[in-house]
Amino acid sequence: MGSPMKLRARADGDVVEVKILMAHVMETGQRKNPAGEPIPAHFIQTVTVTYGPRTVLSAQWGPAVSANPFLSFKFKGGEKGGTIRVNWVDNKGDTRTDATIIL
């Protein structure tokens, strides 16, 4: 299981801004360790953000997304007190889901 994400969701009128920080190495597979051996690729491949039953964003990522990824976006129709869930799955099958309440 991955490390916890840091999530923020804030409503301004009917627009909710979601900010997500994920703890992940996002290793490209192109780098070498000091001994000269390649470091295996390890990166998040899919991200899904839901508000109740509704998917508000889905993404597919390659290893060129920066380490400890940051993502923010906005959607309409969210309400204060509602729950935002964020899930990621990486190339090793590791996954993590966290939730936050819209403020």
Partner: protein
């Protein structure tokens, strides 16, 4: 000086003409082939390596299909012209193209050009703020799908050498 301006103007006109002819749907075709821009839920099984393993922009030409993508001023890329470090290049991309339902970010000179693809369901604003790696100074491309058509914008971002040097 007038000579210089004239030369550039002429080159731009030439390219303008060519652009009309060129079929630019390669990335689009690829992404569709990869199931990347398919509507609906995304799960791990949907992640298709083909799209993320493209090494050169030219490779995409072989997958040319779909409708040509059009350069669009309705796509805004907010990013610094110069990044202090290529490991983290902050970008905000937004599309004012009506009906935008997918946004992809590509880096021309990265080993694999496709960095990230986002699906924008109805009700979500077509604006993404994230950070990508850039191996070197390169053009960054944003590809937008709207109403089944494809649009793009580009920006060059310089990656500088930094620090004490090692």
């Amino acid at each position: 000086m007038p000579m210089l301006v004239h030369r550039f103007t002429k080159r731009m006109q030439m390219n303008q003409t060519r652009r009309d002819v060129v079929r630019q749907g390669s990335i689009v075709a690829l992404l569709m082939a990869a199931g990347l821009l398919r509507p609906g839920d995304v799960c791990a099984a949907d992640w298709n390596p083909a799209a993320f393993e493209i090494k050169k922009l030219e490779d995409l030409v072989t997958l040319l299909g779909g409708e040509p993508a059009t350069a669009s001023d309705a796509i805004a890329i907010n990013a610094p012209d110069i990044a202090e470090n290529g490991a983290v290049v902050p970008i905000t991309v937004s599309s004012a193209v009506p009906g935008t339902d997918a946004i992809s970010i590509l880096v021309e000179k990265n080993p694999n050009v496709l960095a990230a693809a986002f699906e924008i369901p109805a009700g979500t604003l077509p604006e993404i703020n994230t950070r990508v790696k850039m191996a070197q100074t390169s053009n960054l491309f944003v590809l937008v799908r709207a109403g089944g058509k494809y649009f793009y914008a580009a920006k060059e971002i310089k990656i500088t050498l930094g620090g004490c040097g090692g």
